[in-house]
């Protein structure tokens, strides 16, 4: 087993961040709910308490002390000694930020950060200067070095199913660290060690005799547990506590774990077992999966040439297994969007306050799942969109009231599934985009023909996404530098998605980001143009049709497709990829769409639908910027993946 401190530090960071997110979320609820919201207050309290315990076990004493101070103040709020006021909430939010900063730097320094000191001072000022104690920024000896039995009630890692085993080593123990490590290993042989306090790392490094506790899930009897611990040597006292809820059982009593109870405990722990996994490992799995899929394609092609029934059967079976494996791996990479969305309420609150706006922020579709790597990338663009909505969309309260709207604006962030894509939508009920002003600016900049009278949504998006074309009267701290929408669009397109805009005048603005569910493997249509094969991701494919049959008409010098009641412009894949030669007779049409816009893409032949593995390639200078990547076909030849969204740029 590994005892790499960096590993624990990483785990600590991840888990403390989760607690911080809970804290922020609960603070927001508390702010909305007011003084009566005891649930939210308790949730804040719990989060701070948990992080305090984690910091203590990691030896991050400055942060632990900060948490302790924070806890004391929260306790006074809970007991009604402190008035629930906006100033207090602001100070608590500031403390949450300082807390987060402190946690980030905890592994580098044992001192309190200036932000932490300032945040506590602010809290004390709000609280009337009657803090429970002086906050000191000084390094302390690790908690484990104190001789007494560890107070397990204060350290949350020990909360959970299993028995608590408390061990005190003999005062004359030689190599106590090694002995403690051995004891943990001995217990591991008879059960699952869920947590230790202090951490295993601290234990192993210890140079003085230790008292430590750990949580063990096992079917072994208390005497067997004790025997296992004692076999490690230099053990003065062992206490096995199976009471679960009542932790402080009489010392000398060794409770007997009944088989039935232990089985129930095991069953309970099974339902909530998670393994944290490095994203790089998931990426490696996905890459191997991709190679396996390409190899499968080749095998199927080879076996078709051989025509052996037994071989075909076996291959079919292998194919099914590979498909299942692929689904499992993709599922393993999926995470709910709330993991990123959860930090937005706080951000929106702060930005709204700064801008003097009143906003009800709603998140919908929190449980929609997205590939981990996509989710990581999408946070920043969404922040841009939220800031734009707050800054330019939602009006100041008095303006809203004058316009007959409620004083508080409504800002909705939603996630939804739509076929092979996920839609992330930011909509506000603000003033909408001033089309006339954008048109004037765009015409002045030469982006739009002077004869254009009005911009449709698509043109509007293209204009506001143009670098340097901002209609904001003043450049604010938040947005309005004219890079927002441009940056969003660039990012989203790099992820194989697209941005759509809808802005009915006076009725607000809705920006929709459409993303593929996963980056590495996409479902695509393979289309032939001449001798070349191109992949068209299904994200932007609506349907396919046979060419001819009266559907294609010649209107005003160009071919259009009559589809139900619509006239769609037609593009020819051969021309798109600048290919010469005469087109074949029997051709097919792929109806592609982006937002409200649809087009027909004429291809020579459709070669079927397939899951393709997206691979990067070094694009040549001056090459057409129409491709989002490439893939390897069953015969081993590379094929380019057409970024269907970009085909609308030219039309």
């Amino acid at each position: 087993m590994s005892l790499d401190p960096a590993r624990y530090a990483e785990l600590f960071r991840t888990e403390s961040r989760e607690q911080l997110a809970t804290m922020n979320r609960s603070l927001l609820l508390l702010e909305q709910g007011g003084a009566d919201d005891q649930d939210s207050l308790s949730a804040v309290f719990r989060a701070v308490h948990t992080v305090k315990g984690m910091c203590a076990t990691m030896g991050y004493h400055a942060v632990a002390e900060f948490a302790h101070e924070l806890e004391s103040l929260l306790d006074r709020v809970r007991r009604g000694e402190l008035a629930h006021a906006p100033a207090l909430m602001d100070a608590l939010f500031a403390a949450a930020d300082a807390f987060e900063g402190g946690l980030d730097s905890a592994s580098d320094t044992s001192l309190a950060t200036p932000e932490m000191t300032a945040a506590l001072q602010r809290l004390h000022d709000v609280a009337g200067g009657t803090a429970t104690g002086e906050f000191r920024a000084r390094p302390q000896e690790p908690m484990a070095a104190h001789g007494a039995l560890v107070d397990v009630a204060a350290t949350d890692p020990l909360d959970g199913p299993g028995v608590i085993v408390r061990v005190r080593q003999s005062a004359d123990a030689i190599l106590p660290g090694v002995r403690a490590f051995l004891a943990v290993e001995k217990l591991r042989a008879i059960g699952a060690v869920m947590a230790t306090s202090p951490t295993e790392e601290v234990l192993r490094e210890a140079t003085t005799p230790q008292a430590f506790a750990l949580r063990l899930v096992t079917t072994a009897s208390a005497s067997a547990i004790e025997a296992a611990v004692r076999s490690a040597g230099d053990v003065a006292q062992v206490e096995v506590d199976a009471s679960g809820q009542v932790r402080r059982s009489t010392r000398a009593t060794i409770a007997v774990v009944r088989e039935g109870e232990a089985a129930a405990v095991r069953a309970a722990s099974r339902t909530t077992r998670f393994v944290r996994m490095d994203l790089a490992r998931l990426d490696a799995l996905m890459n191997l999966m991709g190679e396996l899929m390409i190899t499968r394609g080749r095998l199927l092609q080879l076996s078709a040439g051989i025509g052996d029934a037994a071989l075909d059967d076996t291959l079919q079976h292998a194919s099914r297994l590979i498909a299942e494996l692929q689904t499992e791996i993709i599922t393993a990479r999926m995470v709910p969007v709330w993991q990123v969305f959860d930090r937005f309420p706080r951000l929106v609150r702060d930005a709204a306050r700064q801008l003097g706006k009143d906003v009800n922020f709603v998140i919908e579709g929190k449980d929609i799942e997205l590939d981990r790597s996509l989710l990581d990338e999408i946070g920043e663009p969404v922040v841009h969109l939220l800031r734009n909505a707050l800054d330019h969309g939602i009006e100041a309260p008095e303006v809203r009231v004058a316009a007959g709207k409620p004083a508080a604006g409504r800002l909705v962030l939603s996630a939804a599934r739509d076929r092979a894509s996920v839609l992330i939508r930011v909509s506000d009920d603000g003033r909408g985009i001033d089309r006339a002003k954008v048109l004037a600016r765009a015409q002045a900049a030469g982006l739009v023909d002077a004869t254009v009278r009005e911009l449709d949504d698509e043109q509007l998006l293209r204009c506001i996404a143009h670098p340097g074309l901002s209609t904001a009267e003043q450049v604010s701290d938040l947005s309005g530098r004219g890079v927002g929408v441009d940056a969003v669009q660039t990012k989203v397109r790099a992820l194989g998605g697209s941005v759509e805009l809808r802005s009915p005048p006076g009725l607000g603005t809705t920006m929709t980001v459409r993303l593929p569910i996963t980056l590495a493997i996409v479902r695509a249509l393979l289309a032939r143009a001449g001798t070349e094969c191109y992949a068209l991701p299904l994200t932007h494919v609506r349907e396919t049709l046979e060419y001819g049959g009266g559907a294609v008409q010649h209107v005003k010098g160009r071919d259009v497709l009559v589809l139900r009641d619509e006239l769609l412009p037609l593009l020819d894949l051969r021309q798109v990829v600048r290919q010469g030669g005469a087109p074949g007779k029997a051709r097919e049409i792929v109806v592609i769409e982006r937002g409200d816009r649809r087009s027909g893409l004429v291809v020579d032949e459709l070669l079927g639908q397939q899951e393709i593995v997206v691979k990067p390639f070094d694009a040549p200078r001056e090459g057409l910027a129409l491709f989002s990547g490439a893939t390897i076909l069953a015969d081993g030849a590379p094929a380019l993946i057409v970024d269907v969204g970009s085909l609308f740029q030219g039309t």
């Binding site: 070094d618 040549p620 200078r621 590379p638 380019l640």
Partner: protein, 153 residues
């Protein structure tokens, strides 16, 4: 302080000799990753003429350049000759050549500068004069310059 021996080592370069567009060419062996048989490349629309396209080398997609076209000769036939896989300009790419000849150690002092007319805008870095690696002179190609010229960012 470099010793005399190591200074002597530094003065000698190992060059891979190959033939492209009927000329003897060379590049530093240190940038060569492998040599594979030429295969049909997938065309990259809009790319400069000497960019042949993409090939698949055991699951990695490489952009292949045809050195012959860069030197003004007609495009080589698909799937004929060899592709030298090289690292240059922070990228991995392929260079299609007619044939790969030999590896030879050449003293730095033996290399001659190329005049502006024959350096092909920086793609040719130096000249190995006739008599050093054979009867012919050889053009030493600069893989960084090739990557800069052919590939985006």
């Amino acid at each position: 302080m470099a010793s005399i021996e190591s200074t002597a080592d530094l003065d000698v370069k190992r060059l891979l000799l190959f033939r492209a567009a009927g000329r003897l060419c060379a590049c530093d062996l240190s940038v060569v990753r492998e040599i594979v048989a030429a295969r049909v490349a997938t065309r990259l629309p809009g790319a400069p003429a000497w960019v042949m396209g993409l090939i698949n080398v055991r699951g990695t997609l490489l952009t292949v350049m045809d050195l012959a076209v860069r030197f003004g000769a007609p495009r080589s036939a698909d799937g004929v000759g060899s592709v030298i896989v090289v690292a240059g300009g922070g990228k991995l790419f392929g260079l299609r050549v007619d044939s790969v000849r030999d590896v030879r150690a050449v003293a730095d002092a033996a290399l001659e500068p190329v005049d502006d007319q024959r350096n092909a805008d920086g793609v040719v870095r130096a000249l190995v004069p006739a008599g050093v690696v054979g009867d012919e002179s050889a053009l030493v190609c600069d893989m960084d310059a090739i990557a800069r010229e052919a590939l985006a960012g």
